[in-house]
Symmetry: C2
Subunit: 373 residues, 2 copies
Amino acid sequence: MTIGDASGRPAAARTAASGGNVVISVDAMGGDRGPAVVVAGMAESAAKNPDLRFIVHGPAAELQRLIGRRRDLADRCDLRDAPGVVTMQDKPSQVMRKGEGTSMWSAIDSVRAGEATACVSCGNTGALMALSMIRLRKLPGINRPAIACLWPSRNPQGFNVMLDVGADIRADAPDLAQYAMMGASYARNGLGLERPRVGLLNVGTEEHKGRPELKLAAELIEAGTSLGSYDFVGFVEGGDLPGARVDVIVTDGFTGNVALKTGEGTAKLVGDFLKEAFANSVMSKFAAVLAMTSLKRLQKRIDPRRVNGGVFLGLNGTVVKSHGSADATGVSAAIKLAFQLARSGFQERLAARVAQGPAGDMPAAQVRPGPVA
Amino acid sequence: MTIGDASGRPAAARTAASGGNVVISVDAMGGDRGPAVVVAGMAESAAKNPDLRFIVHGPAAELQRLIGRRRDLADRCDLRDAPGVVTMQDKPSQVMRKGEGTSMWSAIDSVRAGEATACVSCGNTGALMALSMIRLRKLPGINRPAIACLWPSRNPQGFNVMLDVGADIRADAPDLAQYAMMGASYARNGLGLERPRVGLLNVGTEEHKGRPELKLAAELIEAGTSLGSYDFVGFVEGGDLPGARVDVIVTDGFTGNVALKTGEGTAKLVGDFLKEAFANSVMSKFAAVLAMTSLKRLQKRIDPRRVNGGVFLGLNGTVVKSHGSADATGVSAAIKLAFQLARSGFQERLAARVAQGPAGDMPAAQVRPGPVA
């Protein structure tokens, strides 16, 4: 365990440059459950991935105490003293002005400086997006960055990608076309799908339905299939989010955020009703014991902690937002996602793809083969 | 069983006028499963409610054959010959021009003529709304009618109300304020809540979040609490839809439709995963047998057929839209809802409430006590 300050040049840069190691920058503060849970999540991931290294940002004394206890983890961490904390109540505009010295700012800056490949934070989503925008800047050619989430589905890969789930409450047709391209790239690198199927969220699958901007967006997304190396299945509905018709669901950040929270809330309701049902009688309690293995398997399939991690797309650097209320398992899932994306070279692939021009921007005749991102 | 044609004056008018009887107009065609399922649903409801009478619309020969078999039901039905059928593929604009003579048109006209108190259809939602608009007309003072659905929740009443779930993809701030008033009236008459708690769907509960029109809508809804006899809890999120913080959730028809279908899709996914989990081993199959009663209870709590029925609000007449794929149990649930609303005098109460002026339209000083709807 080495200690620097937020502005100091890292011992970890060495680690990042050396052999197969992947360095993840972790904001230890700002989550609802405090830094102990974040450190526990880091320890879980570190135990599973020997190539994983961390740069950890927060109040040095507190982090030293928490990490020092864990011998195996301590050897793989660089600490950066950042005494300030961004709270869930802070407004993004305030954090942009006064956020320097916070663990969140410092964690993003490790990616900016190139000493870490990706950043993970459990903090305030709006503030994290705002700081990521000003410190990492948008990729050239991107108008609105987006947050992509993974959604449990009936597809063989087990998950679908949905974006935007809350980076921006507005999205015009060209923005939605960029989301299609970025989402497809994420599905290719994060889920291993060679040619993802993209759908545009609407209130019906018929062509005449929905808002006028969605019709235009559908045309742009259709025009971008060659350039973006995806198939376009057309309009999809809310019921398709966990379905097998599509791998990537494109929508604006307002609708996507409502859908995400509705899905989570519904899954939790059904899960709670299930628990109540089994607690109902002696017979059902006995049945629950017999079915324990099966129920645990079900729980694992729908456990939101397993798919914890919204990825910010469209910036010069990868940022993974974990749930504010994530426990150690949730934090570990977010770190695993950041690790996978870092290892796959996702950021460079996406940047190369975007540099070719936004989807639908050029006629099909001009489309040239490029690196597959 | 009496038979008239679509334009004929009804024998059922007598029935409607007599003692406690409630007459429901049923469109027997247009659902995905055909008229046999609709008739089976009518029989289920009729068996439970002795005061229920029907006017049934569709091809007379087919209906006579289906209903004639059921002695108890036949005595309580008037048939109206309407050979045309609105299909799920028909565009609303076409149905508005050429829909006369269809069972859907005929079913709505029974409410228009006052011979039935409410209409139930499993057909094409867009066409049903379009026909309801031109035949029943909007209530004076209403700008955009809305479709309200019931959502399984943790509240004591078991359900929350959400609107709009798809009548109109747009909604301005004054429309949302009218939805609040209409939704509160529906919750009062349909769920028996004296003073419903209304929330406005947004991407966060903080006042500074969301689209500008939502801030204005929140002010209008807050200003309408006295006139509308509801409490306003402010912004709510997708996770609150099945929650206990709120009874009525107000949103535009695009967002509401996506949320509704997302919730249904998620509940179905979890249910299917649960079935797979129990089919996993001999032990878990045995456990499923032991837990049968509890699992059936759970299934009943989350069964979408139990809450089948979107209610069109803001028209001169009550129209209940059943799921296109509803089975007999689903149709029966939609008829039960229409029956409850008809019996409670909901339509007259809502009209009186709306006649007082749209929520937020007048300063608090001018608010006068009116009939509680």
